[in-house]
């Protein structure tokens, strides 16, 4: 059983994300990338191609760029496949969190949900980071 991470987006966002992920998490991940609409052709054949070479035991976690997009929509039929998870609006913290999970057992749906919740919190307006959070700056000089 292997865990595959599919990154799919309009054009090269997916490729960049996968590239950045490998910078952090190393090259041992099973990553496949789909950069949609680099030409003016429909993407269904490209999507189908991603699943070739996988066994029915393999888990697939598909991460797309945007919920409303046709890239995400075209993956919907595949979530009826066992152990196939679709996440849209992926950010690097989420990709990283998923890549860091143990690969000997498949990820469960509630685990993925909680990783998604955590990753949402990683979208931060840094200027507005609450100063009161540094109340407990315990700076002792002696």
């Amino acid at each position: 059983m292997s865990i595959y991470l599919f990154f799919a987006s309009h054009r090269t966002l997916s490729e960049g994300l996968a590239n950045a992920l490998q910078f952090f998490a190393g090259d041992n991940l099973n990553v496949k990338v789909l950069t949609a609409y680099m030409d003016n052709k429909p993407i269904e054949p490209e999507i189908k191609q991603l699943f070739s070479g996988l066994t029915s035991e393999d888990e697939v976690i598909i991460m797309t760029d945007i919920l409303a997009g046709s890239v995400n929509q075209k993956f919907l039929p595949y979530i009826s496949r066992p152990k196939t998870h679709l996440i849209s609006g992926v950010n690097l913290p989420l990709a990283l969190a998923i890549a860091m999970e143990p690969t000997d057992t498949p990820l469960e749906a509630d685990k993925i949900s909680s990783l998604v919740d955590e990753a949402r919190k990683q979208v931060v307006y840094v200027n507005a980071l609450n100063e009161s959070e540094s109340e407990f700056d315990d700076e002792e000089d002696e």
């Binding site: 309009h10 030409d39 003016n40 052709k41 429909p42 945007i66 919920l67 409303a68 997009g69 046709s70 995400n72 929509q73 075209k74 919907l76 039929p77």
Partner: protein, 161 residues
């Protein structure tokens, strides 16, 4: 009749249509007219994921659309009409649906189509249909997003020749 714009876009409901065009047109209803999609629950549910808050979304067959428009079902609100191909629009208009303008957004290069713009490829039959629509007095222009400058059908066809 309340269609504000009819758009030909093979991807139908997607980011560009529900974001940029939404800001431009402020439709109350997105109407996808396509016989095949109207019968595909999975594709329909995918499209409904993208529906902007506060709008309605109809995904119906050509026949239903004609019947409903004729019955005045959409008279009191703005409708953004979306179809996959020019022939669908021609059928709707011949069936009595009033369309003020046609936007050619995106058609893939497949099935014997020839590219005309970066986003639109057309077969000979489709070119003829677009010309027929234009002859009915409806302005036909090519524009992928509202920020792009619209290019008239005449200009696009001339460039190719």
């Amino acid at each position: 009749m309340s269609v504000v714009l009819a758009r030909i876009d093979q991807r139908l409901i997607h980011g560009i249509t529900v974001n940029q065009w939404n800001k431009e047109l402020h439709p109350k209803r997105y109407m996808v007219v396509d016989d095949q999609v109207a019968n595909d629950d999975l594709v329909k549910s995918g499209m409904r994921l993208s529906k902007p808050a506060g709008t309605g979304m109809s995904i119906i067959s050509q026949e239903k659309a004609i019947t409903n428009f004729k019955a005045g079902k959409y008279d009191d609100h703005k409708v953004f009409l979306l179809v996959k191909e020019p022939s669908t629009l021609l059928n709707l208009i011949k069936g009595g649906v009033q369309v003020p303008a046609i936007n050619v957004g995106a058609l893939f290069e497949q099935d014997g189509r020839v590219p005309y713009t970066k986003r639109v490829a057309l077969s000979e039959a489709e070119v003829q249909t677009l010309e027929e629509l234009s002859e009915l007095g409806i302005p036909v222009s090519f524009q992928y997003t509202p920020d792009d400058s619209p290019v008239s059908l005449d200009k696009v066809l001339k460039k190719q020749k």
